[in-house]
């Protein structure tokens, strides 16, 4: 068993003929959580969608390795079944498909009704289970529903795209708690099997979720890597302008 969950080597990605990501390198050891900072429109979502395997994101160079297996050319559903799960920034509405159906589908028959119900309870989704997925959901409801799906899916690598955006202060603590549950944070790191990569635009999520490494992405390139709290402090104090100086 590999102690590295995710390894990205020299990854370049194109979307609709335009190169968005340039030579990305990144390694996440099993049990670790990393965070990705960066202003809007700089390629953070692109990186997560590429790891997940969305066909719109075309890999022009490099490799993605999950638990020792090269998955660069695997389709999205196979990656999901191999243990990658993603919470989307803006998931689509699927009319007629209920929240309960989605969460049940994620479990792929592994979870009992009791377990599924306890997921609905802990994500405070009971009032939404019989509604069409994402239809008329508030920002916070979308995030809780995404996390419920991941709790049922139990992925080894958890990709979260701005899990705190659009979430009010009351709900953000719940979101943080759910992420910790998903990433097995109450276990000591050596016993944790789950790893995470979290995009955060504001960094608020770090008040609730511990992370080992932080990155800053600018113009499709990772320009800095370090202690996430230190990076956040710099961004809060001086803005991304300070980061831009690093590449100047």
């Amino acid at each position: 068993m590999s102690d590295t969950t995710l390894e990205i080597k020299d990854l370049s990605v194109e979307v609709e003929g335009r190169q968005i990501l340039h030579d990305i390198n990144l390694t996440i050891k099993t049990g670790e959580t990393h965070v990705l900072f960066g202003p809007n429109g700089n390629g953070k979502t692109t990186l997560l969608m590429t790891i997940m395997g969305s066909p719109k994101y075309r890999i022009t160079k490099g490799n993605i390795i999950l638990k020792g297996t090269d998955i660069t050319n695997l389709p999205m559903d196979e990656r999901a079944r191999m243990g990658i799960g993603m919470s989307m920034q803006r998931p689509p509405v699927v009319r007629g498909v209920k929240t309960r159906d989605m969460v049940t589908a994620c479990a792929r028959g592994r979870e009992s009704d009791d377990e599924l119900n306890s997921i609905f309870l802990s994500t405070n989704l009971n009032e939404l289970v019989d509604r069409d997925i994402n239809y008329g959901f508030s920002g916070g409801e979308i995030k809780r529903s995404e996390l419920a799906q991941l709790l049922a899916q139990k992925p080894d690598l958890v990709l979260l795209d701005e899990p705190e955006s659009g979430v009010d202060l009351v709900n953000i603590a719940l979101i943080g708690h759910l992420i910790n549950q998903l990433l097995q944070k109450k276990h000591p790191i050596r016993e944790r099997m789950r790893s995470g990569l979290i995009i955060t635009h504001t960094g608020h999520i770090l008040d609730y979720v511990d992370a080992r490494t932080g990155y800053v992405m600018l113009a499709g390139t990772i320009i800095c890597e370090g202690d996430p709290h230190e990076i956040l402090k710099t961004i809060v104090k001086k803005g991304y302008e300070e980061c831009r100086k690093c590449i100047a």
Binding site: P55, D77, A80, M86, P92, R95, K98, M102
Partner: protein, 411 residues
């Protein structure tokens, strides 16, 4: 002898309209069909029905082996009612011919909800009567289980001509499931079916109709509903099997105040089929409400999905939702939602969408580990899921089963 006069008048009008083309649908030459059918014997015991016919009926929700979950049963084959029975004293179930013999007053109900001279098909039914069913709920009665009615075409090349009258007297509640089907052979046949519904004050009818024709059948149902104050009409129409040509556009006239009308239709159109289906609701009574919901999928056939709501009274409310999905093939879906408001203080709206399955939605489900086929099936299932209220659980289950059986063939 008033009834004889009305009948004479109807015949004259029908003769005048015998060549009148319908507003919608391809024109069918009636002369190419046969119009007479041999008289079939009445069957006390339904076990004599052939296995083939039984299985065709079962696919339309008509059960003949165990009728314990039905309040009544009427089965017409070709032009003969071969069985009719009611299990409740306050529900009448019989052939239209018998009912016309029994009740003088019934003549007054003929051609009031559907115009005899609407087109050549209504005219044909008047001029070539081939029976039909009469179902009546007496005042204040309530069906425990649905009444089932089956119209079956066994004879090759027959133009089956039926006239049905359904009456819910004051304060009654009547649930009906109707299955229309043919022998399981690919032979030409035609079905012309006039159905007139009368919903009296405070009465409720739910009418679930499942069509299961052959790819060679041409079908022209003609349906009218007249509603009095506080009446409720819930129609659920399902067609999941091929048909050569089908055109129907039932109309509900909500004449009383505070009525509720709901038309749900679930349509699957395979290659080679042509379906032109609509629902019309005329809100003449103040405070009346309606909802027309249709879901149409083509896998190669052509669909016209119509909807029409007209508001003629204060505080009426209507919504029309028409969604079409082009799953595969080169068929088309033409959605034509129409609203007409004739005074202030009414609230009519519509929502129409036609397209293929959004790739983004398929990807969302694949992201959760579903294969492309599983994701597509899940989205189609969701698309066909219409929230159906006010039906006994038995009928809800029947509709679900009809839809799910078709979904399996679809993938």
């Amino acid at each position: 002898m008033h009834s004889l006069d009305t009948s004479k008048e109807s015949k004259e009008k029908a003769r005048a309209a015998a060549a009148k083309k319908a507003r919608f649908g391809e024109d069918i030459e009636l002369a190419k069909y046969e119009h007479a059918a041999a008289e079939l014997p009445y069957q006390e015991d339904l076990s004599v029905i052939s296995g083939d016919a039984k299985s065709q009926m079962l696919q339309t929700g008509v059960v003949v082996d165990d009728t314990s979950q039905r309040s009544g049963t009427i089965i017409q084959m070709d032009h003969s009612v071969i069985h009719s029975i009611t299990k409740q004293d306050d529900i009448e179930v019989m052939s239209t011919m018998k009912a016309l013999e029994k009740y003088d007053w019934l003549a007054e109900y003929m051609w009031k909800a559907v115009a005899v001279d609407a087109d050549k098909y209504t005219a044909h039914v008047e001029l070539n009567p081939g029976n039909g069913y009469f179902i009546r709920a007496l005042p204040g009665s309530k069906t425990v289980y649905p009444v089932q009615a089956c119209l079956y075409i066994g004879k090759k090349n027959l133009a089956q001509s039926v006239h049905n009258i359904i009456i819910a007297e004051e304060g009654s509640e009547l649930h009906i499931i109707t299955g229309c089907t043919t022998a399981p052979r690919e032979e030409p046949a035609m079905h012309l079916g006039v159905s007139e519904f009368y919903i009296k004050k405070g009465a409720k009818i739910s009418f679930t109709m499942i069509h299961n024709w052959s790819p060679e059948t041409e079908v022209r149902p003609r349906t009218g509903v007249i509603m009095e104050e506080g009446g409720i009409y819930l129609s659920n129409y399902i067609i999941m099997k091929p048909v050569k040509s089908l055109q129907a556009n039932p109309i509900a006239r909500c004449n009383g105040n505070n009525t509720i009308t709901r038309f749900n239709s679930i349509v699957l159109c395979p290659p080679g089929s042509n379906m032109d289906l609509g629902s019309q609701v005329i809100l003449n009574g103040a405070g009346s409400r309606t909802e027309i919901i249709s879901r149409a999928i083509t896998t190669g056939g052509n669909i016209v999905a119509r909807g029409y709501i007209e508001g003629n009274a204060p505080d009426v409310k209507g919504h029309l939702e028409c969604r079409g999905l082009i799953l595969k093939g080169d068929g088309h879906i033409h959605a034509i939602p129409e609203l007409k408001g004739n005074l202030a203080g009414i609230d009519l709206s519509h929502e129409a969408a036609v397209g293929k399955i959004a790739e983004e939605e398929v990807e969302y489900l694949m992201m959760r580990g579903l294969t492309r086929d599983e994701a597509t099936a899940t989205i189609v299932r969701g698309f066909l899921r219409v929230e159906i209220e006010g039906l006994p659980p038995e009928l809800t289950a029947q509709i679900k089963q009809a839809v799910e059986t078709a979904e399996k063939d679809l993938m």
